[in-house]
């Protein structure tokens, strides 16, 4: 089964909030400065598509999603 590993770069994050709006089950925002809070670094397959969309939508390139083949 395909596994996705999500990583966030706090230094790059500009708090735009596209990720939290798109996939709130995986991303949240710090209520004070808007920076990303990663809720689930290995989201279940039904969330993969929207998590990959979050990677694309992030204006600052702060989200990286890597497929990992699990044995």
């Amino acid at each position: 089964m395909r596994k996705l590993v999500v990583e966030v770069d706090m230094a790059a994050c500009c708090g735009a909030g596209r990720c939290a709006a798109t996939e709130p089950r995986v991303f949240d925002q710090d209520p004070n400065n808007g920076t990303v809070v990663l809720l689930d670094p290995e989201p279940a397959p039904p969330l993969h598509e929207s998590v990959m969309l979050c990677e694309t939508l992030c204006p600052c390139g702060a989200i990286s999603v890597t497929p990992v083949s699990s044995s």
């Binding site: 925002q29 808007g34 204006p59």
Partner: protein, 436 residues
């Protein structure tokens, strides 16, 4: 030869656009022009044929190299980027600066040339990091999706008040004057704590700032008047702070020496000007689409859950920052098949990128069912619009309220008599006379 195109003026819509429903112009002549040729650097911006479509030449550029040479009004040549992927790449790349005084920075208008010589008046959209992020992050909290969501009931009340009066009075009415301009302007004024009696003052000055019809001197005078007013507001809030954004910025940021008053004033000006003119332009075009796109209004009325997605699609489709965003390369950057050298200017056409068929199939069709979230109407990169969530809430609520209050809405004038604002940095309608 490239097709010669006329101006999208009232009464001059070409026959191809002149139907009860606004139709789209097909792309012409794309394969006849060698856009990569250094000798061919056509004048930019090009002119629209159809008032709701970008100039057709942009589609031809999109099929060409990653960037093409164009000539600006004062004769300088810059790179024009039209493809979605390349636009994203440039806007997300910190080797391109947003500082207007940088070598090679595209001067889109006579006014931008004047303002370049006065960098002290620049707001953070004309800065790079770290200054940009230092100042912008002071505002992040107030413009978070969840923060502006709290304003939704207030915006709804404002709309209900306005539309109840409009509906009771009866048509015809100009929706720009009655609704799409005053609503965003009152919301941003409320946020900043600008008293209602100053509304006209700042609306008039802000309108001058974004209109190319005024001379650079007139624009500078309007800006100085606005800055003078904002400086007084800042001083008043310093003496007696309230709960508004300006008061909090004075108390939390200026008094703690994280920011100077000289930085706060242009910041307030940016919020004021960018905060209402753009939303107002987009909202008016959204209303136009409701009136001219077959079935759109009926569908949104039937299924209100479609409204947020429709707003994304309308943002993509209209792309009101019609002449795009300007940047300059600070080092040599390879973009696809093109080498952009340090000190060269780049213009990123958001409207062309948002009609890229590789990203959006049938891009010239307005489809409320499309997932349009990848549009670049709010830009991309660290400068992506701070107020995007507020804009979304306002646009969604304006659309819903009009659908609810004015069910039989129709244009009060023939469609070809509508006057579009082509010389304003955010494309829009001068007026939208409707009746019901």
């Amino acid at each position: 030869m490239r097709p010669s195109v006329g101006h999208a003026n009232p009464g001059e819509w070409p026959d191809i656009c002149r139907r009860a429903v606004i139709d789209r112009v097909r792309v012409q002549g794309g394969d006849q022009v060698t856009l990569a040729d250094e000798a061919v650097a056509p004048a930019y911006p090009m002119r629209r044929i159809c008032p709701v479509d970008p100039p057709p030449e942009l589609a031809a550029f999109r099929t060409g190299p990653a960037a093409s040479r164009v000539t600006l009004w004062e004769g300088t040549r810059v790179w024009l980027v039209t493809g979605h992927a390349h636009a994203r790449a440039v806007l997300g790349d910190r080797r391109f600066t947003a500082v207007t005084s940088a070598p090679g920075f595209p001067m889109m208008t006579r006014t931008s040339q004047l303002l370049r010589s006065q960098p002290q008046s620049a707001s953070f959209i004309r800065m790079d990091d770290p200054d940009h992020s230092r100042l912008r992050s002071m505002l992040t909290r107030d413009f978070l999706a969840r923060s502006v969501e709290e304003l939704r009931p207030l915006i709804r009340d404002l709309l209900d008040g306005i539309l109840a009066t409009v509906a009771a009075r009866g048509g015809p009415v100009d929706l720009v004057r009655a609704l799409t301009l005053p609503v965003p302007s009152r919301v941003i004024a409320l946020l900043l704590g600008i008293p209602a009696e100053a509304q006209d003052f700042f609306e008039e000055r802000s309108a001058v700032l974004i209109d190319r019809g005024y001379t650079p001197q007139e624009v500078a005078a309007a800006r100085d008047a606005l800055d003078g007013y904002l400086r007084e507001l800042v001083e008043a809030r310093a003496r007696q702070p309230g709960s508004d954004l300006v008061s909090r910025l004075v108390v939390d940021r200026v008094n703690t020496e994280q920011m100077t008053v000289e930085e706060l004033v242009p910041m307030c000006r940016l919020l004021l000007v960018a905060g209402h003119g753009t939303t107002a332009s987009q909202a008016a075009l959204n209303m136009l689409s409701l009136l001219t796109e077959p079935g759109l209004a009926a569908e949104l009325r039937r299924d209100p859950d479609l409204v947020p997605g429709a707003v994304e699609e309308l943002l993509r489709f209209h792309s009101i920052i019609q002449n795009g965003l300007a940047r300059a390369a600070t080092e040599d950057v390879r973009l696809g098949d093109i080498l952009i050298r340090a000190g060269e200017g780049v213009v990123i056409s958001l409207s062309a990128a948002n009609r890229d068929e590789e990203r959006f199939p049938s891009p010239d069709t307005l489809d409320p069912h499309r997932d349009a979230r990848r549009h670049l109407a709010f830009g991309h990169g660290v400068h992506q619009c701070l107020g995007q969530w507020l804009a979304r809430v306002e646009l969604e609520e304006m659309l819903s309220a009009v659908l609810q209050w004015l069910p039989d809405l129709r244009l009060a004038v023939p469609v070809e008599e509508l006057e579009f604002r082509n010389d304003v940095s955010s494309y829009g309608l001068a007026a939208l006379p409707v009746t019901w």
